[in-house]
Symmetry: C2
Subunit: 153 residues, 2 copies
DNA sequence: CAAAAATTGGTATAATTTACCAAAGAGACG
DNA sequence: CGTCTCTTTGGTAAATTATACCAATTTTTG
């Protein structure tokens, strides 16, 4: 697996910002003509460097006014317990991110909800019904200062 | 500003998952023909519901093996201080997310880095050089259990 | 330095997007 | 209950864009 040269990185930086660029525009940006630029993009897709193309949606426009970070400790941390938790989390659309953490909590989740009462519904009907959870602690975000999908290349 | 009907929501759900669907494919999914589907998408863009189109890139493929959550307290929380902090954060590509929080910290950041030493470089050369920071606490992610860009519609 | 391999760029074709217009459907009002 | 108006839909044609193919150039290797 050959690694990424300077042009590949320019392509990734551009497409992470705007995937609707035409091949002509992208080629101009990275200093190639359309053909090799197109082939590089296809290769990046095949190699799994580019994983997908998505539209981003405005959270406010959807009425999702609440963002919460949840710290979770499990009663036990055997692989079986971790897998069970991961499977449950993965099904729920409200959970946008979930990380297994070092330190004094096991998981950190980012959850969005329309308002406090629908967040409460998420807690009552979903999260707290899971077995094996020792503690849950919610921290609320007052505002999103920065949100980027673009990894540094 | 008319709000979103069931078809708009289907469109958003689909495009949040795969923005490379052709209008024909998208139209089939939502039960319309190409023309009205196309017009709805354009309207969603103009109204700012769809904010952008981006490619997502594999973090491992870029060699970014470290994900860190950083809790930050500022010495003072005047608007001036918050703005200064927000401006600095926004410039740094390593910071993917930043939230102003309730509770006993002011900000929560998600930062990525190639390895521990480049994370250390980020701390030493950037974050700790900011004025007005009272405390910094890093929590490391062992793994990403879930990561989604798709807001629930 | 020469041969081989990889990468590039141009052109032609296929696929997709977009603009335009007529037809169907939904809502308001007498 | 019907008719007028406004909105949304669907089909067609033109323009734009993506993609496949091949020759030319550059880079790598022995």
């Amino acid at each position: 697996m050959p690694d990424l040269d300077a042009i590949d990185r320019k392509i990734l930086a551009s497409l992470q910002t705007d995937s609707r660029l035409t091949m002509q525009e992208l080629a101009d940006k990275v200093g190639l003509s359309v053909s090799p630029c197109h082939r590089r993009v296809k290769l990046l897709e095949e190699r799994g460097v580019i994983t997908r193309y998505v539209a981003t949606v405005d959270q406010k426009a959807l009425g999702l006014h609440v963002s919460v970070f949840i710290s979770i400790k499990l009663a036990r941390q055997k692989e079986e317990d971790l897998n069970r938790f991961a499977r449950a989390i993965s099904k729920w659309d409200e959970v946008l991110e979930c990380y297994l953490m070092t330190g004094n909590r096991d998981y950190l989740l980012r959850v969005v909800a329309a308002d406090l009462s629908s967040y409460e519904a998420f807690l009552k009907n979903k999260l707290t019904r899971l077995d094996g959870i020792a503690s849950i602690e919610s921290s609320f975000a007052l505002s999103q200062v920065k949100y980027s999908i673009a990894l540094p290349v």
